[in-house]
């Protein structure tokens, strides 16, 4: 294996977190940084407004023929591979999933960061489910607030503050933590469908607020000097790259700042297979380059930023840390795997909605049933709820076709079905949720004993299923989704995906798979410290949704970026001066 010239920092993965750390280090220090990205270079998106290739065939996603994950519902089952995409969509190439995301940019609630303590204080440990594995993050909302603000400015998040320095502000989310600043940009315009949901929410006495989004409502120049244009509501947003750059993506907010830096190099087509380490110290990585040659890249510091669950896989393959064992509870690597439960209610209107217009985060939400509101407690069997939302994300003609009220036609093909589908076309809106997913002892990741990737390395195995908590949570939230739907005046269909007994990989839930390399305040309970530095290997940093001890009812990217900004400060301001453990 060829041993390359050492660099100061090697970063595995060129998505949001990898490029953010690279940008912070390269622009604030003289350290040399090499980013190894296994996918393709950043591309031009002007000719990619094609629903078939991008939304249906998922052209921007990781090629599952090369590598996938396996799944089983419990440790008693045999896992099988996720052979085609369904419940989540990992990206590939420069920018990663940050290129094709929907740009929804919520902050997490203040209690999320100390959820274990919060639930114990509120209910007493004895009343909590025995298998509950939620943990505190080792960092508080107040400590993260300045980093949230930096991430919001970098992306130009649009929204309306609901809580400014402790004072509630009308029109924003009254349940959010205190913000030090109003959003960098105002909310988007309101589409017809979103206006109908908003009115229904107000009529029912709720306090709806615009969904915060990193797709711009107006031209914006961020503190780094990057200027981007306002969104045109073309509807080709989530699962696509933005053709005009209105959506914040690593390729348009971070990469331009790195392009001409002498201490920076981005190398694509470079597939990292192992982290090299000796005596508790990372020494670099080995990877297969674009010509198929295996190379060893030595580095003083290794930063693993390879997308949430893939971080677990690379650590497991490299033999760093003790794999979690659900029967004994020993080991920390791979534990606290979480996802999010999603369900929809379809609303059938008698008027066209023009749903082809929109953008990923154009929408309205209510927070009354998220967190742990009145009515939810251990006796109800539900500890955390969900936001309820309506979006105008932009619907394509293929995926939106054929939504008809259940039972209206006998068949889902043929003349009668066609007539009904044409009649209902563009008249069907939907209300969605994104239930907070708690961590449980039985949900975790490890290496699959059978299935391998294109190099012959074991795939990551997900052991994950819904518990009674999620089923009760789904029913509780579903009831309120249906009430909201009825209040719009529409004919309301039944819950879609509202009754599945088990976790399914066959339909989309969210790409918010988290955990496996969780952060926390002790090496006994977590893999990385609150600076995202490996507890047992101080020159290894593991960054991304992998660090989340459990999942909130919100999209994770903004929090991933806030935590990554804090890690960057820890590295630049403290680690470089005195390399060693920061916590």
């Amino acid at each position: 294996m060829e041993r390359l010239k050492p660099v100061d920092v090697v970063i595995v993965g060129g998505g949001w977190t990898g490029l953010l750390l690279a940008k912070e280090i390269v622009t604030r220090t003289s350290h040399s940084v090499l980013v190894l990205e296994r996918g393709a270079p950043a591309r031009d998106y002007t000719s990619t407004m094609d629903e078939l290739d991008y939304l249906i065939r998922l052209r921007m996603m990781q090629n599952l023929a090369d590598e996938t994950v396996t799944h089983r519902h419990s440790s008693k089952d045999r896992a099988v591979p996720v052979r085609q995409y369904g419940s989540f969509n990992p990206g590939t190439g420069v920018g990663g999933a940050g290129e094709h995301w929907g740009a929804v940019s919520n902050r997490y609630r203040t209690d999320q960061f100390r959820l274990a303590t919060h639930l114990r204080e509120k209910y007493g440990a004895a009343r909590l489910p025995e298998n509950l594995a939620v943990q505190d993050w080792g960092v508080t909302y107040d400590e993260l607030e300045p980093y949230y603000w930096r991430a919001e400015q970098m992306m130009g998040v649009c929204g309306k503050a609901g809580n400014l320095r402790g004072t509630l502000v009308e029109g924003g989310d009254p349940f959010e933590g205190p913000r030090s600043h109003e959003f960098p940009n105002p909310p988007h315009k309101t589409s017809y469908f979103v206006s109908l949901f908003r009115k229904a929410a107000l009529d029912l006495g709720y306090r709806p607020f615009p969904i915060p989004t990193a797709t711009l409502s107006q031209t914006y120049r961020n503190p780094d000097g990057i200027e981007r244009p306002a969104c045109m509501y073309c509807g080709y947003c989530s699962r696509y790259g933005c053709m005009i750059g209105a959506k914040a993506q690593p390729s348009n907010t971070l990469l331009p700042l790195l392009a001409n830096k002498e201490n920076f190099k981005l190398q694509t087509g470079s597939y990292v297979r192992r982290l090299i380490h000796r005596n508790g110290r990372a020494e670099g990585v080995s990877y297969i380059d674009s010509s198929g040659q295996e190379k060893m890249q030595p580095a003083e510091v290794v930063m693993l930023c390879s997308w949430t669950i893939n971080n677990s896989r690379l650590l497991l393959l490299s033999g760093i840390g003790e794999p979690y064992d659900p029967t004994t509870g020993k080991g920390t690597l791979g534990k606290n795997l979480t996802h999010q439960l999603n369900q929809q209610v379809q609303l059938f209107f008698d008027k066209p909605l023009n749903l082809f217009m929109g953008t990923g985060g154009l929408g309205c939400a209510i927070g009354e049933f998220a967190g742990d509101p009145a009515g939810l407690d251990p006796s109800s069997g539900i500890l955390r709820g969900s936001e309820i939302r309506a979006n105008s994300a932009g619907e394509g003609p293929i995926s939106s076709f054929g939504k008809i009220p259940p039972g209206e036609t006998k068949s889902d093909w043929g003349a009668e079905w066609k007539k009904a589908a044409l009649n209902w076309h563009d008249k069907v809106g939907q209300i969605t949720c994104e239930c907070a997913h708690l961590a449980y002892r039985q949900n975790y990741v490890d290496l699959d004993p059978t299935y391998t990737d294109k190099f012959g390395d074991p795939l990551l195995r997900l052991t994950l299923d819904w518990t009674d908590h999620e089923k009760r949570q789904r029913a509780f939230i579903g009831k309120h989704m249906i009430s909201l739907g009825k209040a719009t005046g529409a004919r309301v269909g039944p819950l879609v995906h509202g009754a599945e007994e088990h976790y399914s990989v066959t339909y989309y839930q969210s790409t918010h798979v988290q955990g496996g390399v969780i952060q926390g305040d002790s090496a006994e309970r977590s893999v990385v410290n609150p600076w995202l530095q490996h507890w047992r290997m101080p020159n290894l940093w593991v960054v991304g949704g992998s660090a989340f001890p459990q999942n909130e009812s919100a999209n994770p990217t903004l929090t991933i970026l806030a935590v990554a900004y804090r890690a960057a400060d820890g590295f630049v301001e403290r680690y470089i001066k005195k390399p060693g453990a920061l916590a």
Binding site: M49, P352, H425, V505
Partner: protein
């Protein structure tokens, strides 16, 4: 090397026949009677006839507007099957192939190409010559199979995907549902037209960007 196979269709069946429209009213009938001979990439000529006939039952041309025949859905499916999708270039296809629970989706070994060839055997060679009622009966008997679910999905895709993929000829599918195509901006429309249909004359991606665009199915390996 496969023998070159062609499908011959009346030109009026490809896009130009009837334009259902903005308000759902037919406004144009093009009385062109020439025949078009198109090379096939995957199907044999008779296989294409069979699949085209099945698609026509799934998404028929009738008094409610044009269907699979006018949109050229068969051309779309032929190209998809010949391309990386049909050859499973983006699906995990390593074994062992195990039976599993429904929550794990399709776990089979067969590629879309193989699923279609198997489906064609179920439909039989004379399917295109049966009357419509008999065709429906044959399809009804297989409507829960992997093949039929895929065929139904592909019929819809061929109706409504950008014409660069071979279907939606003459943008007839988009005209049928009032989809305007991948227009770059609705900035002045997004908060207007509440409850009113916004139905522009559709345009394709190629027309919008001003140069040819190739679909993923054109990728060779």
């Amino acid at each position: 090397m496969r023998r070159r196979e062609f499908i011959t269709l009346p030109a009026k069946c490809l896009g130009g026949l009837l334009v259902y429209t903005l308000a759902g009213v037919p406004i144009r009938i093009q009385a062109q009677e020439t025949m078009v001979r198109l090379p096939l990439r995957f199907f044999t000529a008779n296989e294409a006839r069979v699949i085209a006939a099945a698609c026509e039952r799934i998404f028929p041309s009738d008094e409610n507007g044009p269907g699979a025949k006018e949109a050229g859905v068969i051309i779309y499916i032929d190209r998809q099957l010949a391309g990386p999708f049909g050859r499973d270039r983006h699906r995990y296809t390593k074994g062992p192939f195990l039976e599993s629970v429904p929550e794990h989706g399709y776990q089979g070994k067969a590629s879309p190409q193989e699923i279609y060839r198997d489906g064609l055997r179920q439909l039989r060679e004379d399917f295109a010559d049966l009357d419509a009622a008999k065709q429906d009966q044959v399809l009804r008997a297989i409507e829960t199979t992997v093949f039929f679910r895929m065929l139904r999905t592909h019929a819809i895709e061929g109706m409504f995907s950008d014409p660069m993929h071979g279907g939606n000829a003459g943008l007839i599918g988009w005209q049928l549902i009032g989809y305007p195509g991948p227009l770059m901006s609705y900035r002045d429309d997004i908060d207007k037209n509440y409850g009113q249909p916004l139905r522009r004359q559709p345009v394709s991606l190629e027309q919008i960007v001003g140069h040819p665009v190739k679909g993923w199915e054109e990728e060779r390996d």
